[in-house]
Each structure stands twice: as structure tokens, then as C-alpha cells.
């Protein structure tokens, strides 16, 4: 009798699948390896570990993700994709087309937690695959690109207010130049040139113009007269930068503003981190304001894509990760460290600084007035091939004597060739 019971027990034990006992595991590819970003990501790591998750860190930094892309593609080609990777914008859908994202393991989590109600429609649509039917990525923040940062002392002592139109900007810049201050601190690397370019396009051309050109890729708009005006303003801005700007890193340019050598810098909201590290406060030592536009707002949503993986522990890991990423606490703490604002709509802004609060308020206003637009320079509006083609023309024009009308024509041609 005892023997029989033992045998039955042994057989039962042998037949029990052992997989469901494994802890959730996640291999995460990213390039947030320093400063506020690393601190922010660690919050996620800690939360994951607190839920018994095993986090396998895969940091590959360099060029804002350039080196990581090599590693990622190699892993995918080797049929060994990581569980999650720091991918944003249309690239998410591009991977879906290659067939490496289905079966959208996190969609169940998204449906259960009601992500459709927690995110704005625009952000949500970026996170979906399979023609918008299933969630395949989780957003962690919203960055705003079109900011101007200014040294308050410099502005005050030269009697200048923050410009609200591009004409005012030019006038202020002329005055500053006459007084020996560099009007615009800039580092001329291709991505920085593109960043300034899209802010100018938004302001000079208007919201609809921006959408037609950089979201719809309308050829007439790309090569037309308004685009020429945008390039004209870029040429003017070039005159307001100093000789050392080519190749300069963005944070060195911020340093120029911090020290009062330059007055303005046009850069995304991560510039806040530099000011903070130098013990400067918004409103007191520096001013943050959107670049002149008509309620425009260029956004960049950092997110993590979840690839197709094998193994129950990996799938569980993905689900846990996705859920934590959209968690209220994470969205708050992460963004305070990173300098952006939460993607999730119902997070309180009380603990954020004044620039973040403004960003949040502008987000809602722009959304209602049709000015909430995806940044193309930071990979939200266009696929990388088109973004790269535009960037090449913009940076070439900025760093040469190319005429504005030629640049506009080249722009239209380059986009066409890249499709």
C-alpha cells in the first residue's frame, strides 16, 4: 500500500511541469548608462527585483543608441532576441513587419490594465503593432524637443525678454551679437542640426506645414517655398553661432549658456540635467521656454519594445516589466530623474519642477489645438531611412553655403530616393 502511494506520488511529481515555477526573467537592452538616466532605469530594476524578477542588463551606449542597434540586430539575426529593448517610434512597427515581435506577449497585460485609457491616443498608437490592434511596446516618458534655454543674467543685463516669435529671436540675437555675446550656443553634429531644424520648421512653417512635410512626406511641401523660408532662418541662425560649433557636444554648448558666454540654446528637455548638476534653478538662473511656434509641441516618447521570445520565464518577465513600466510610481520617479514628463496621464505633477509642469500643461493645450506633433529628428515621425536622408541635407546646408532653395529641392529629392 505504501509502495503504491509512493509510486503514484513519484509519477505525479515527474509529470508536473517544472516551468511554471521559474522566476520571471528579462534581458533588457538599453543605453542609459550614466547620470540621471541610469538612476532612473535603476528604479525599474529595483522594482523588478522586488517582484522576484531576474534582470539581465544589456547596456550598450554610444551615439544615442547607434551602437546598441548593431548589437540588437545581431542578436535578432542569431535568433536570440532580448526580451525588451529601448526602441521608439516607427521603428517599432518596422520590427513588427520583419515578424520578430508577434505574438505580442504584453498585449494581455495592456488590455487588463486598460492602457487605452491611461495614455493619450497619439502615444498609444505609437505603442501598437499589427495595424494598431495589439500593444507591443510600453512608453516610459514624454520628452519635449522644442525648448529654448537661456541664461537669465545675460538676458536681463542686455534688456531682452524671451522671444515669442522668430522675428523677436532674430532681433534679440542681433542685439546680443552687438554686445559681444554669442547669441546661440550650438554643437553642429548632424542630430543637433536636425533638432534645431525641426523646431524652426514648426515655428516658421506652422503646425500643418510640419505635419504635411515630416509626417506625410508631401513632396510639394518638402521642396516648396515655405521650406525655403525655413532654410533661410537656419542660415540666419548659423550666423548667430560661434566658430567652434562644428562637432561640439550638446552639453558643452549648454555649458556656454551656463557660464554666460552664450545666451540661448535650442535643445530638448534633457538639458535641464546639466543646469541642475551645476546647481542652477529654473526661473532664477536660467529660463526654459518653448521655441516660438503656434502652440506646437514636438514630442519624443522613449519606450521599450518586447520581442518574440521562447520560454515561459521570459514571457512572464516581459509581462511583469511592461506592467511595472506603466506603473504610477515608476512613471513619476523615473521622469523626475530623467527630466521628462510621464506618458501616463494620471500621474500627479506636484513633485516636478517648473519646466516639467509647463511641459505638461503645454502638452494638453497643444493636443487640443492640433499642435502635438512627433519629432522626426528624434525618430518619432519617420522611419530611420527617411529621417537619415533629411538629416543629411539639413546638416550639409547648415555647414556649407548651399542656398535655401537648393536645399529645399535636395530635401525633396533625398526623401524620394530613400523610400
Amino acid at each position: 500500500m505504501k509502495m503504491k502511494k509512493l509510486i503514484v506520488a513519484l509519477i505525479a511529481l515527474a509529470l508536473t511541469p517544472s516551468v511554471s515555477f521559474a522566476a520571471p526573467k528579462a534581458e533588457v537592452l538599453h543605453w542609459w548608462t550614466g547620470g540621471g538616466e541610469a538612476k532612473a532605469l535603476k528604479v525599474l530594476q529595483d522594482e523588478f527585483a522586488a517582484q522576484n524578477g531576474v534582470w539581465l542588463d544589456m547596456p550598450v551606449s554610444g551615439g544615442g543608441g547607434d551602437a546598441a542597434m548593431q548589437t540588437l540586430k545581431a542578436r535578432i539575426v542569431a535568433n536570440d532576441a532580448p526580451a525588451a529593448a529601448q526602441i521608439k517610434g516607427p521603428t517599432i512597427q518596422e520590427y513588427d513587419e520583419e515578424g520578430v515581435v508577434a505574438p505580442y506577449n504584453i498585449d494581455a497585460v495592456a488590455k487588463k490594465e486598460g492602457w487605452d485609457n491611461l495614455l493619450s491616443k497619439q502615444v498609444a498608437s505609437h505603442m501598437k503593432c499589427d495595424d494598431g490592434k495589439a500593444y507591443c511596446a510600453a512608453p516610459v516618458n514624454i520628452h519635449r524637443i522644442d525648448w529654448i534655454w537661456a541664461n537669465k543674467k545675460v538676458l536681463d543685463s542686455n534688456g531682452i525678454k524671451m522671444p515669442s516669435t522668430w522675428a523677436e529671436f532674430n532681433a534679440a540675437a542681433d542685439k546680443l551679437q552687438a554686445n559681444g555675446i554669442i547669441p546661440l550656443a550650438h554643437g553642429s553634429q548632424p542630430w543637433q542640426d536636425a533638432t534645431v531644424f525641426e523646431a524652426v520648421a514648426l515655428g516658421v512653417g506652422g503646425n500643418d506645414f510640419y505635419r504635411k512635410a515630416f509626417v506625410d512626406l508631401d513632396a510639394a511641401t518638402l521642396g516648396g517655398s515655405t521650406m525655403t523660408k525655413v532654410f533661410d532662418q537656419m542660415r540666419k541662425l548659423k550666423g548667430y553661432t560661434d566658430a567652434g560649433s562644428p562637432g561640439r557636444d550638446w552639453n558643452v554648448a549648454t555649458g556656454m549658456v551656463m557660464e554666460g558666454k552664450a545666451a540661448f540654446q535650442i535643445m530638448g528637455d534633457w538639458a535641464k540635467g546639466e543646469f541642475a548638476a551645476n546647481n542652477m534653478a529654473p526661473g532664477k538662473d536660467y529660463i526654459c521656454a518653448p521655441t516660438p511656434s503656434n502652440n506646437g509641441y514636438l514630442y519624443n516618447v522613449d519606450s521599450f519594445i518586447f520581442y518574440k521570445v521562447e520560454g515561459n520565464d521570459k514571457v512572464e518577465g516581459q509581462k511583469l516589466l511592461a506592467s511595472l513600466m506603466m506603473g504610477k510610481n515608476f512613471q513619476k520617479v523615473f521622469n523626475i530623474y530623467k527630466g521628462s514628463i510621464p506618458a501616463r496621464l494620471d500621474v500627479s505633477m506636484d513633485e516636478f519642477d517648473m519646466c516639467a509642469k509647463k511641459s505638461n500643461a503645454d502638452l494638453k493645450t497643444a493636443g487640443s489645438k492640433g499642435g502635438l506633433l512627433p519629432s522626426f529628428a528624434h525618430g518619432m515621425a519617420l522611419r530611420l531611412a527617411q529621417k537619415g536622408a533629411i538629416q543629411d541635407v539639413v546638416t550639409e546646408h547648415f555647414n556649407s553655403n548651399m542656398s535655401s532653395s537648393d536645399a529645399a529641392k535636395k530635401l525633396a529629392a533625398a526623401v524620394k530616393a530613400s523610400l
Partner: protein
């Protein structure tokens, strides 16, 4: 008559001595200028690594630091005073050692044997075979990342030190064979022929005769391979991950933060730390440059 000759001789001697001194001065002068060229960036790096960030932002590139503090160095090595999540170099250092030692030994040995076989045991078509090796040095590494990834994946080595060792050995063989073969080609065949007549075999000759006189070229080969493998970032980043990554990937992660605040002093300290093992190899290997071939060996 004799006095005049003696005078002329003395004058000639004095002239040539003066010439020698002038030559010597010119020699040291030229060497000195080059020292300047080579050392300037290192000077900037060292000086920056001892400054504080405010000092760096405001100061002159070439100015000396206000005080010598090793804070940046400690932070780079094991994170003293870091903010959570930052990268530090210590663990990755040993990964690189585990990678470099086998890769260098295997590829150097293979290169020497290949070079020896191609030059001392001539056979029909051996020059073409050598060309096949040479061709391998012209491949742009970026182009092979994807097929290599696929192959490693199939072999099950997609994320491992052994996969990396394999990759480095493969692409190292082309160079090590090149160096050794070109060295052996200028060594006379007499010794090998004599030994063959005496009945010695392929490997016996290799270990007893060839290797002992190969010191200079083995030194050069080891220097090249060590540098290539230790300094490699491309393969390390693509074919290994996370904790198992080699040191250059860690250095990269430490230095190239994308939208975070940069700490130039830590970056410079980290770069110098990363370069130290290679420097040590150069210094140690350098001793072998002094020894030429042993006296008595015959040259062609």
C-alpha cells in the same frame, strides 16, 4: 711633413667628432619634436582626469589642475561616489583578460606555424595560399557582423566569451600569418635545409630552430594582437552582453552617455585605466626589441 699630416688628421678627427655631435643633437631634436606630437593628447587627458568638473568647464585645456585628487580615478574603477546605475570598470577588466590571453596565444601560434609552413616548406601555389590569407585583412568588419551573428547563433555561441575568442582568432590569423610569414621569408633557408638533411621533421625544426629566432616578430605579433583584441569594441558589443562584456564596451558605456550629464574627468581616468594593460605589454615586450638575432645565425 709628419706634423702637417698629424695636424690634418687631428683636424679631420675634430671635424668628424663635431659632425657627430651635431648629428646627435639633430637626432635628439627630431625625436623630441615627435615626443611633443605624441604626448599632447595624453597630457590633456591626464590633466583633465585630475580636475573637477567646474574647473574643466571654465578652465583652459592645457592648464594644470588645481590639486591632484584621485576621485575621478576611484569612481571610474569601482564607483566610489557614484550615483546608482553607473558603469564601473573593475568587473569588465577580468572579462577582457579572460578573452585576450587565449585569443592572442592561439592566433600567434597559428600565425607562426602558417608562416613557417608557407616559407620553409615551399610547394606549388603557396604564394596564392598566402594571398588568400592577405585578402582576409581587407574585409570591413562592419560587413560581417550579421552573418557572423547568424553563424554564432547556429553554433550556440551567440553570447559567450568563447564565441568572442573564436571571432578574434579568425580575424587575427590573417595578420599573424602575414607578420610571421614576411619575417621568415627573409631568414635564410640554410639552417632548415641542413636540419632536414639531418632527418629532423616539421615540428621539431619549428620548435628547436625557428621559434628561438622568432622573438622579434613574435613580439610584434603579440603587440598587434593584444592591442586589437583588448581595444576591440565592435565585436565585443555585438557578440557579448551585459556582465560578460569586455572592458571597451564598459568604457564606451561609461563615456558615451547620450543625454545625461558628462563627467569628463572620470572619462579620461577610465580611458587611461583601460589602456594600462596594453601599455604594460608594450613595455615588457619592448625589452625583446633590444635583442636582435643571436650572433652566428645566418642571414640571406
Amino acid at each position: 711633413m709628419q706634423d702637417k699630416e698629424k695636424l690634418n688628421l687631428n683636424r679631420l678627427e675634430a671635424n668628424s667628432k663635431r659632425k657627430n655631435i651635431i648629428y646627435r643633437w639633430i637626432l635628439y631634436f627630431i625625436l623630441g619634436i615627435f615626443v611633443f606630437y605624441y604626448l599632447t593628447p595624453l597630457y590633456v587627458m591626464i590633466v583633465t582626469s585630475f580636475k573637477t568638473m567646474p574647473e574643466i568647464r571654465q578652465g583652459n585645456l592645457f592648464s594644470l589642475p588645481e590639486s591632484i585628487k584621485f576621485d575621478a580615478w576611484k569612481q571610474a574603477w569601482d564607483g566610489a561616489g557614484f550615483t546608482g546605475g553607473d558603469v564601473v570598470l573593475k568587473p569588465y577588466f577580468w572579462n577582457s583578460i579572460k578573452l585576450v590571453v587565449p585569443a592572442v596565444i592561439i592566433s600567434t601560434l597559428l600565425g607562426a606555424i602558417n608562416g613557417y609552413a608557407l616559407t620553409k616548406w615551399r610547394f606549388k601555389g603557396d604564394s596564392y595560399i598566402f594571398l588568400l590569407f592577405l585578402f582576409g585583412t581587407f574585409i570591413p568588419y562592419q560587413a560581417i557582423l550579421l552573418p557572423m551573428a547568424r553563424t554564432l547563433g547556429v553554433l550556440g555561441m551567440s553570447n559567450s566569451i568563447s564565441g568572442l575568442i573564436l571571432v578574434h582568432v579568425i580575424y587575427g590569423i590573417c595578420f599573424t600569418t602575414l607578420f610571421c610569414r614576411n619575417y621568415y621569408v627573409s631568414i635564410s633557408d640554410e639552417m632548415v635545409r641542413a636540419a632536414r638533411i639531418d632527418g629532423a621533421g616539421f615540428f621539431k625544426i619549428f620548435f628547436k630552430i625557428i621559434l628561438p629566432i622568432s622573438i622579434p616578430i613574435l613580439v610584434v605579433t603579440v603587440i598587434w594582437q593584444f592591442t586589437q583584441v583588448w581595444n576591440d569594441f565592435l565585436f565585443g558589443a555585438t557578440f557579448s552582453f551585459g556582465e560578460a562584456a569586455p572592458i571597451q564596451v564598459a568604457l564606451n558605456n561609461l563615456v558615451l552617455t547620450s543625454t545625461a550629464v558628462k563627467r569628463y574627468n572620470v572619462d579620461m581616468a577610465a580611458a587611461i585605466i583601460t589602456g594600462v594593460p596594453t601599455l604594460i605589454v608594450y613595455i615588457l615586450a619592448g625589452n625583446y626589441f633590444i635583442k636582435g638575432l643571436t650572433a652566428g645565425s645566418v642571414k640571406g
